[in-house]
């Protein structure tokens, strides 16, 4: 890994300020330099590297793009990559202590395991079909447990069905859904142990639930991610070597693993493989003996993404889905722009049809 970055790529981190925050790679900014869009150069400098992948989350580096691009992907992953959630609740009976609307809201928030690619968006409220709606049934009544030990105060022993759990949702396949979901886990919650309501003997809940495809900008329940965030790669430059007697104090100014101390010479240096672990707390700048020895910064076009999936998508699918959404948006706007251009050119450019704000 190279230690030196072009100073133009660095955002300086001072004790009480950050400077050089904005990118400057625009045409006309530097005399005699061309910074107009160049796909070949972009592809040459672009780096996308997955660092860590688990069943629930992914960490990857996106290097060589502007913050506006990285931010667009982050925002799309949160708000515009679709998932399936319960949206309509038909209540036949609810004698629990939870009010209908509160219970309905809680049901909406239950993450479902349905792959959104298998479903279509529902055009309007009255057009439910087997391609855009998944139906669940919830029918549960609490009763006394006749076999409960005497003098027990444990509701698990005293009652049967004293909790309405997400695992109680029963999928009601409609149309060709049995074929569509063949070989896949049956549609249901990703976690069967979410308590939705508590019941006592004689109380019951009976309802039909319709799950549809939606996006996080409509309601946060549709967001496919628990978090989708990025930070910039920290960069630490030691300008003046640290006296070995102060090495340990210097090391403690940074997150664990960031500064290593040579066991033979006792000299402190930055571990380039671990700089990303630094929190950039700026603690080092509080000590007068270190202020002139070190330069803190972040690399402006080096994004360290961390994305946690809620379960509808495997974590490695989230960025490709965000890219797909972005490219669909681009395509729609481009077609609309071309149509508007053709329409205006057709009427003659002197007579432009403009709209009031």
């Amino acid at each position: 890994m190279s230690t030196d970055f072009n100073p133009r790529r660095l955002v300086q981190v001072g004790a009480e300020r950050v400077s050089n925050v904005s990118s400057t790679d625009f045409p006309g900014h530097y005399p005699g330099e061309d910074h107009s869009w160049n796909l070949q150069e972009f592809r040459r400098d672009l780096r996308v590297e997955i660092q860590r992948l688990s069943n629930r989350s992914i960490e990857f580096d996106l290097v060589g793009v502007d913050a506006s691009i990285a931010n667009a992907f982050r925002r799309i992953m949160i708000a515009e990559v679709p998932t399936i959630c319960i949206e309509l609740v038909y209540i036949w009976n609810n004698t629990s202590v939870i009010a209908d609307e509160v219970l309905s809201h809680r049901l909406g928030l239950v993450p479902l395991n349905v792959d959104p690619a298998l479903m279509q968006f529902k055009a309007n409220l009255d057009s439910a079909t087997d391609h855009n709606t998944i139906v669940f049934e919830l029918d549960i009544t609490c009763t006394r447990n006749p076999g409960a030990p005497k003098a027990s105060e444990n509701p698990d022993e005293l009652y049967i069905n004293h909790e309405v759990l997400s695992g109680h949702l029963r999928w009601k396949p409609a149309g060709d859904q049995l074929t569509v979901f063949e070989g896949l886990p049956a549609p249901g919650p990703t976690n069967p142990n979410i308590v939705l309501a508590k019941l006592r003997p004689g109380q019951s809940v009976r309802m039909e639930l319709h799950a549809i495809k939606g996006v996080g900008k409509d309601h946060a329940k549709f967001s496919p991610v628990a978090t989708a965030s990025y930070r910039l790669l920290p960069h630490i430059k030691i300008k003046k070597s640290i006296p070995p007697s102060l090495s340990e104090k210097f090391q403690k100014c940074f997150s664990p693993g960031v500064v290593k101390i040579d066991s033979r010479t006792g000299s402190a240096s930055v571990d380039e493989n671990n700089v990303r672990k630094d929190s950039v707390s700026r603690e080092v700048l509080r000590h007068p003996e270190f202020v002139d020895s070190v330069e803190l910064s972040r690399v402006r076009d080096y994004f360290l993404f961390n994305v946690e999936s809620e379960g509808a998508y495997t974590p490695e699918r989230l960025l490709p889905e965000a890219l797909k959404v972005m490219r669909e948006k681009i395509s729609i706007i481009k077609n609309a722009t071309q149509a508007l251009k053709a329409q205006i050119e057709g009427t003659g450019s002197g007579d432009v049809d403009m709209v009031d704000t």
């Binding site: 045409p27 006309g28 997955i50 691009i69 490709p320 706007i333 481009k334 508007l340 450019s349 432009v352």
Partner: protein
């Protein structure tokens, strides 16, 4: 999603006759698209330009702002494609740490 009766893109009042300067209003889009598009437009528009939620493009030499917008959209698409390629390549190569997370 609601039926698309509103036009996706509109030309707002105040565009110059030769369309070298115009404000576009893109329906049902936010900063997600706005800032990415602004950045890509800045890469090719010499100067000056400003951004609001309505995308305003001012061109030199009577060049059409429509063409600037269309080429920025094209470039943005190529950018996305490149990132997708690089990401899928990294995923395919598999040189990353794998671990198991508890719910």
């Amino acid at each position: 999603m609601a039926a698309e009766s509103v036009p996706k893109i509109k030309l707002l009042e105040g565009a110059s006759a030769d369309l070298s300067a115009a404000t576009f209003q893109i329906h049902d889009e936010s900063h997600t698209m706005g800032n990415a598009l602004r950045w890509m437009l800045m890469k090719n528009v010499p100067h000056p330009s400003e951004n609001v939620i309505n995308v305003r493009i001012q061109m030199y030499d009577n060049i059409s702002s429509f063409d600037a917008l269309i080429s920025a959209l094209d470039n943005l698409d190529h950018l996305c494609e490149s990132i997708e390629d690089a990401y899928l390549e990294s995923l395919r190569a598999g040189r990353f740490e794998r671990w198991e997370e508890q719910h």
